[in-house]
Amino acid sequence: MSAIKIEHITKTYDKGSVTALNDISLEVAKGELFGLIGPDGAGKSSLFRILTTLLIADKGTATVDGFDVVKDYKQIRGCVGYMPGKFSLYQDLTVEENLTFFASLFGTTISENYDLIKDIYVQIEPFKKRRAGKLSGGMKQKLALCCALIHKPTVLFLDEPTTGVDAVSRKEFWEMLKRLKEQQITIMVSTPYMDEANLCERIALIQNGELLSVDTPEKIVASYPQQLYAVKADNMHKILNDVRDYENLQSVYAFGEYLHTTFKTDEAQSEPKLIAYLQQKNNSGIEIRKIEPTIEDSFIRLMTEASTS
């Protein structure tokens, strides 16, 4: 049995004028760390809210841990943990009071499931008498995760836990998730950061309420249909504009210190011809090489295809 099974879910707002999710189907296996990757407004939060029984879909069905999200909402609320995108603990309760509150809501105690949260809780325990509203962003996030875990959920939903969080805290957060996975908890996590996709076992790329692709990060990257090139020169802004005007060009966009580009017709002479063109345009320090795509490259490609088809 899958931990999460979504079949043909559609959700619209404003009397059908805004489509948040369009005929979405996917399955998440028990114990899987599954990532929902997409920008703001892609439909990630709507999907989370449907799966946690806070919102009812227009069409389609879904089950979490075998329970139907409409009929069995009570059972689902008892067995899932949910960390919404917006901080939603009680700001004027202390760390400890928040945790005790959530434990007692679910008929349990902190000590009963302490093992599960121990690694995370020890990091905020020195501040247990502090009001949640006075915590730093990183600590709020850790407390929210503890509160979502305190009743030992079978499925954990984390909606953009790392948005607005710096690179160091993001890395720490993902290490915590890996340790939770070892405890057999199914985790569905969403993020707008493409580089976090590689930390999930499988991912769904989502944009404008549609799934662009669902697979392992490795397979998504491997299915990139063309050779990708990285191009560099001393003046990156100039070279970007020059490459954009180049005839034999499928796509080009900035990617960190390089441009990533694909050719319309890719042949042995494509590279030297592009170099010659760029030299003629007075670029210096030109560098070009074949590279493997990243998830972000795949996302950009799938997004472009979806908007032109």
């Binding site: 710096d166 160091v168 493409m194 960190g256 997004m303």
Partner: protein
């Protein structure tokens, strides 16, 4: 001598015992794209508020667009643009109304407002949406519009506080095209971001740790200095030593 857009010497901000910004010194050249990086709570926002004339420093010196941050705050506000990470246009005004409102605040004449409004709507390709409420636009469009409004009065410097958070990868790049264009037009760009690939698009970057600037150079030189392959590694190397987190 080349005119500096920002000159900052030993700039400090203290809240009680807490030194939020600790003697930072740097200069930003006119027309430069300057990346202002740091972990959450490193002091970026506090530093930026002082430079924008929104808060007085505790000590140290700084001039922004040639104006003193202690004595000429109102002049600073007139000569800079600012875009916050939180969307700051009026959601229930149309695109043109927002342009009129913000342009009007910056003292543009009716004629200028009309011209600017048309120009901006055309550049962004928003002709069809010009009379729509801003709240109805997708996030990426909103951010591009907010940026364009922030530079509507042709400021000398524009401050961008995490302008691309949560924006899709294609729109994020279109946003950087706008930044490049502004820089080409001579506007100095001061930008913060959590995306390390965007750090690469800056001419120079500084990295703040615990209120100090611990590194400042071009992305290429910083990678050399830290023997790192990517800016992500440079950032991680510096920021993991931080004692404090968030604000």
């Amino acid at each position: 001598m080349e005119e500096k857009a920002i000159i900052c010497k030993d700039l400090t901000k203290q809240f009680g015992d807490f030194v939020a910004v600790n003697k930072i010194s740097f200069e930003v050249n006119t027309g430069e794209i300057f990346g202002f990086l740091g972990a959450n709570g490193a002091g970026k926002t506090t530093a930026m508020r002082m430079l924008c004339g929104l808060s007085f420093p505790s000590s140290g010196e700084a001039t922004v667009a040639g104006f003193n941050v202690y004595k000429q705050q109102e002049k600073i506000k007139r000569h800079i643009g600012y875009m916050s990470q939180k969307f700051s246009l009026y959601e229930n005004l149309s695109i043109l109304e927002n342009i009129e409102f913000f342009g009007g605040i910056y003292g543009l004449s009716d004629k200028q407002l009309k011209e600017k409004g048309e120009e901006l709507v055309n550049t962004l390709g928003l002709q069809k949406e010009a009379k729509k409420m801003v709240g109805e636009l997708p996030l990426g469009w909103k951010q591009k519009l907010a940026f364009s409004v922030a530079i509507i009065h042709k400021p000398k410097i524009v401050f961008l506080d995490e302008p691309t958070g949560g924006v899709d990868p294609i729109t994020r790049r279109q946003f950087w095209d706008l930044i490049y264009k502004a820089a080409d037009d001579g506007i100095t760009v001061f930008v913060t971001t959590h995306y390390m690939d965007e750090a690469e698009y800056c001419n120079r970057i500084s990295i703040m740790v615990d209120g100090r600037i611990d590194a400042l150079d071009s992305p290429t030189n910083l990678k050399k200095q830290f023997s790192a392959e990517t800016m992500n590694e440079v950032f991680y190397e510096l920021a993991r030593g931080a004692k404090r987190s968030d604000n």
